[in-house]
């Protein structure tokens, strides 16, 4: 499924990285611990997290993730947004909890 479709269906706010919205998403991973994401997130996958600091962009970039979904309207550091724009990695924001977001993604067929 195209990332753009997921953004539409879940009404996510694109905070940064508009250039990366055409990625074909293959799956996802949810964690607030950086080392867990480092170990478990897959290439072209989504990372659903409560973290909003700069280092989430480094993780996404190193793992070639499709996008980062930041839940519960957690504040994303401006430096993170700038870096995400630079790298073309979308940061998507939502008021929903990680639990809800993952549940809806699963319903939509993003199950890997």
């Amino acid at each position: 499924m195209k990332l753009r479709q997921i953004v539409d269906i879940l009404s996510l706010t694109v905070m940064a990285g508009h250039a990366g919205l055409d990625t074909e998403v293959t799956g996802g991973y949810a964690a607030d611990l950086v080392s867990c994401a480092m170990a478990g997130a897959q290439k072209d996958g989504l990372w659903v997290t409560l973290q909003g600091h700069l280092n989430i962009v480094a993780v996404a970039s190193l793992l070639d993730l499709a996008a980062i979904i930041v839940t519960e309207n957690k504040v994303v550091e401006p430096e993170a947004l700038a870096k995400a724009n630079e790298e073309g990695i979308p940061i998507l924001s939502t008021p929903c909890t990680t639990f809800e977001v993952v549940g809806r993604l699963w319903e939509m067929g993003v199950r890997r």
Binding site: T26, V34, S35, Q42, K43, N55, A58, L62
Partner: protein, 340 residues
């Protein structure tokens, strides 16, 4: 400055490919004594539009459908000899295609007889032959490029030297979370450019990120040095700082001494060293408590692993009961699954 036109790859190929490489070789000929009606049948059966006329191995001329039609229209059948008065333009077999193309442009005939340097007819060449020949050459070109790509051709493996090594070094500052991951990212980019196997790149990216954040979080600053060789990528992450009193304990998944403010950022799950061990082919952690820490690990690209296993196997066959000299599969890294 004079503007120089760029040569396209197709133009280049017209100079690289020789006429003899695109000919079809099974050429149909007639002699000067062949009757026009006979020639007509031959052309019709073969669905071709012209034939060389050969006398005792030497090219005497060319006869085309047009010649035949105009003759036969007059209602009388004559020998081919009567109609080939004009001199024949030919190409040499060892000339480049460009030469033939120029001829086609200049004189507009549909085919040219191809002769060797002794004047013997070897074939005819048509514009169709040229197009097919160029397409084949382009395909071969493309194929070569593809195989190079698919072998994930590791640039360093194609450099001939007794010892090829590329050394990269990055300074890592304590508590500098703004630049966390920069060294890992730059190393990753370098490896991608070198054409390293995607699996090797991924292992290096993960392990180096963890080593880098450990220096940032737990030490007073240090350095990450990478030695890239065709057979292995070696990393040494050194720092000065508190060191690690119990290395075995630190290696245990879940063990962490990270302060709360670091944990709030999502670090400090105690999974970093475990991640490194999972991604690296070999790993060694040493520390002088109160002074410094040195972490070393290597990532061995897939190709080299395959080679090493092959070597191990032949060593086994060779030495039978003796222990193989080359390391066994024990320190082979766990497979990191890539989707798709």
């Amino acid at each position: 400055m004079e503007e120089r036109r760029q040569l396209t790859r197709v133009e280049e190929l017209t100079y690289e490919v020789k006429i003899e490489q695109v000919m079809t070789t099974d050429v149909l000929t007639v002699t000067p004594e062949t009757m026009m009606s006979e020639a007509k049948e031959l052309l019709r059966n073969r669905r071709i539009s012209g034939m060389p006329v050969v006398e005792k191995g030497r090219l005497a001329g060319v006869i085309s459908t047009e010649d035949i039609i105009t003759t036969l229209e007059l209602g009388k059948d004559v020998a081919v000899r009567e109609k080939i008065g004009h001199p024949v333009r030919t190409c040499f077999a060892d000339e480049p295609l460009a030469q033939a193309i120029r001829r086609f442009d200049m004189y507009g005939y549909g085919r040219y007889p191809v002769v060797n340097r002794r004047g013997r007819l070897v074939d005819i060449i048509t514009q169709g032959d040229i197009i097919h020949g160029l397409l084949r050459a382009l395909e071969a070109d493309y194929h070569e490029e593809e195989t190079l790509k698919h072998e994930a051709s590791y640039l360093l493996e194609h450099v001939d030297s007794e010892r090829t090594r590329l050394f990269l070094s990055y300074r890592v500052r304590a508590r500098d979370f703004v630049h966390a991951g920069d060294a890992a990212r730059q190393i990753k980019r370098a490896l991608v450019r070198l054409g390293a196997h995607p699996q090797a790149v991924r292992r290096m990216a993960i392990a180096t990120f963890e080593a880098e954040t450990n220096i940032i979080i737990h030490s007073n600053g240090g350095r990450i040095a990478v030695l890239i060789q065709p057979s292995a990528i070696r990393v040494r992450a050194t720092d000065t700082g508190p060191g690690i009193p119990d290395v075995d304990l630190a290696m245990q998944p879940g063990f962490s001494t990270a302060p709360d403010w670091v944990r709030e950022m999502g670090f400090g799950s105690g999974m970093g060293l475990a991640n490194i061990r999972r991604c690296a082919s070999t790993m060694h952690l040493a520390s002088i408590p109160g002074r410094k820490t040195c972490l070393e690990y290597t990532v061995i690209p897939e190709k080299s692993i395959a080679l090493r296993e092959q070597l191990t196997r032949s060593q086994n066959d060779f030495t039978r009961n003796r222990r193989p000299i080359i390391a066994n599969g024990k320190d082979r890294p766990a497979q990191i699954d890539e989707p798709g």
